[in-house]
């Protein structure tokens, strides 16, 4: 008997009693949309999100179990005065450090990035284009290489910058600045120069035109950049880890990296969840502000989503 025939016979036995034609036809759905693709899409979404939902559920456990739901309580989040994520000194300081680094990175790198984007938009010549190329390269260079490279700089060359918060900040700012540059520059290109020229025709100085005519139209893009930079740097692991100094400069991601395998209570899950809550609330607040601004500024109806997709893809 040929192999194909054997397989067919085996399959026939395996599926005996199952209304196979019905099932296959339901998946193929010849007259409508291909259902098996939808099964894949939703299967993928469930697969990508379910583990996180389970981790969130476990962080609310009453007992110490890390592997199964076990009662409901806030012990690991807050109410245990010694072991909860909020009260354990190392976990608490990791959360603060993550938020501190992300806020400072956001506040410094976005204005720099916006200025850089405007400069690149106006300025022609070899210097901006090579700066551009360097930034593009840093965008595709694997983060490990950037981390190690910065580590060498701060340990051998710029010794006056101590490891810990200062080095972490410098590293993060360098890396995160690309987001505002991409987003703001895309917006500048789509805006064109008309309003600025109109303002100057009406007697505004170049600086005034920039401030009163161009900048307000950039607000949505700036808010989107603030949001992305915060969310991205709060989750950063490699740069924060390579630039870390004393234990007070440990971030949440580093805490998870160091403790995940030896973790004995769900406090670490709770800590991770706190970070997720921070990220989520940033996105919600940022999204609302973005929407408000985009409504006010004419011609920027595209969602924040498309800004983000453009920056990632």
């Amino acid at each position: 008997m040929s192999l194909a025939a054997t397989v067919r016979k085996h399959n026939a036995r395996l599926w005996a009693g199952v209304p196979l034609n019905g099932v296959v036809n339901w998946f193929r759905n010849p007259d409508g949309k291909a259902r098996f693709l939808w099964v894949m899409v939703w299967g993928y979404i469930v697969w990508s999100i379910a583990p996180l939902l389970i981790a969130i559920r476990i962080s609310f456990n009453r007992g110490k179990s890390l592997v199964e739901p076990d009662g409901w309580s806030l012990i690991w989040w807050w109410s245990n005065p010694v072991d909860s994520a909020w009260h354990r000194p190392d976990l608490h300081s990791a959360l603060l450090q993550s938020v501190k680094l992300a806020s400072l990175t956001m506040l410094i790198s976005v204005p720099l990035g916006v200025a850089f984007a405007i400069a690149l938009d106006r300025w022609r010549g070899p210097l901006p284009s090579s700066a551009n190329f360097l930034m593009t390269m840093s965008w595709v260079t694997p983060e490990l290489i950037i981390g190690v490279a910065l580590f060498m700089v701060f340990s051998h060359l710029l010794r006056f910058i101590p490891f810990g918060t200062p080095a972490q900040l410098l590293g993060l700012i360098t890396f995160e600045m690309t987001y505002p540059v991409i987003i703001v520059r895309a917006r500048l290109l789509s805006l064109g120069r008309e309003t600025e020229e109109a303002a100057m025709d009406l007697g505004a100085s170049p600086m005034q035109a920039l401030r009163r005519a161009v900048l307000p139209q950039l607000y949505p893009a700036i808010v989107a950049s603030l949001m992305i930079v915060f969310v991205d740097s709060v989750d950063d692991f490699i740069i924060a880890a390579w630039m870390a100094g004393p234990s007070s400069s440990e971030t949440v991601a580093m805490r998870i990296y160091n403790d995940a395998r030896g973790s004995v209570t769900p406090a670490l899950d709770a800590l991770g969840c706190m970070l997720m809550v921070t990220t989520l609330s940033t996105l919600v607040v940022g999204g609302l502000v973005y929407r408000y601004l985009a409504k006010r500024t004419h011609g920027a109806e595209e969602g924040a989503l498309s800004d983000i997709v453009a920056s990632q893809a």
Partner: protein
């Protein structure tokens, strides 16, 4: 700007080709290129190709795991991106938000969730045993290549789906309708029209996922941590923290590693047609 981007690579070279302080056991960077010693580089290259070199097995692991993980990412990611781009309709916004959710959640947190699930008495083992697939708990976290590849796929597949979606979404549906009108079946339309149109997208998304997977060490540390699955990036990470001559060797390896990755990086940038990433396409507006 210049200083912060160009200097680091010079620093790596200076440490890699520098001297070594025998008393403190720390490397000394040598800044004068004329006095560089290239022994660390030749040592590293030797270790990469000799039969029992310290870089040989990790390099093989790196290549095999990355290849398998990227292929799996593509096999899952392409149909998902295709379906969302072509058939999502009104729900596109919602589905896109769900697909992007992993971007906004800490990578380490996503791995921590799996560490919990994959414990010996964890939910994965229990479900598999309940279904009768396995009869004894499988030691997922005991240094299994399967787990490492699985973790890499789980971690990086969002970075595959989003760019693929971006490209596939741009394909003009009229082309596909024309193919169908001319009598091609659905599958034939896909093979003769959609697939050739998305060839660039496929290669560039494979590169954009493959590069970070190659340089990932934390996934491996979290899900395995065993020498049985050490990848090149783990070996570099270990060496840089090791005493004695480790950092010099590690730095030399980082440099070689980077040299090896430059061609795929350039290839990627050329593929997406943006050697200048900051010059947005006019067509996308």
């Amino acid at each position: 700007m210049w200083v912060l981007f160009a200097l680091p690579f010079y620093a790596i070279l200076a440490v890699a080709a520098g001297r070594f302080d025998p008393i403190f056991g720390t490397p000394i960077a040598v800044w004068n290129p004329l006095r560089w010693q290239l022994a660390t580089f030749s040592f590293d290259i030797g270790q990469l190709f000799s039969r029992d070199g310290i870089f040989r097995i990790p390099a093989i692991h790196s290549l095999v795991y990355t290849f398998v993980a990227v292929v799996i990412c593509l096999l899952i990611g392409y149909p998902v991106a295709y379906c969302v781009a072509r058939h999502a309709g009104r729900r596109k916004g919602l589905i896109l938000a769900l697909l992007m959710a992993p971007f906004f959640i800490s990578y380490l947190m996503r791995m921590l969730a799996w560490v919990n699930l994959l414990q010996t008495d964890g939910m994965v083992n229990r479900s598999l045993m309940a279904l009768g697939v396995i009869h004894q708990p499988f030691p997922w976290l005991g240094g299994e290549p399967v787990t490492v590849i699985f973790g890499l796929v789980y971690g990086y597949i969002p970075y595959m789906i989003l760019p693929l979606f971006g490209f596939l979404d741009l394909i003009d549906p009229r082309l596909l309708e024309a193919a169908r009108d001319l009598g091609a079946s659905r599958i034939r339309t896909f093979i003769r029209v959609t697939l050739p149109l998305s060839k660039t997208a496929i290669v560039s998304s494979c590169l954009i996922v493959g590069l970070p997977i190659l340089s990932d060490y934390y996934t491996n540390d979290l899900l395995s941590g065993s020498p049985r699955t050490t990848m090149l990036a783990n070996q570099i990470d270990n060496l840089l923290y090791a005493p004695s001559s480790g950092p010099g060797l590690g730095a030399a390896m980082v440099f070689l590693f980077m040299l090896a990755l430059v061609p795929p990086m350039i290839w990627y940038l050329r593929l997406i047609g943006k050697e200048d990433l900051f010059e947005p396409d006019e067509g996308q507006e």
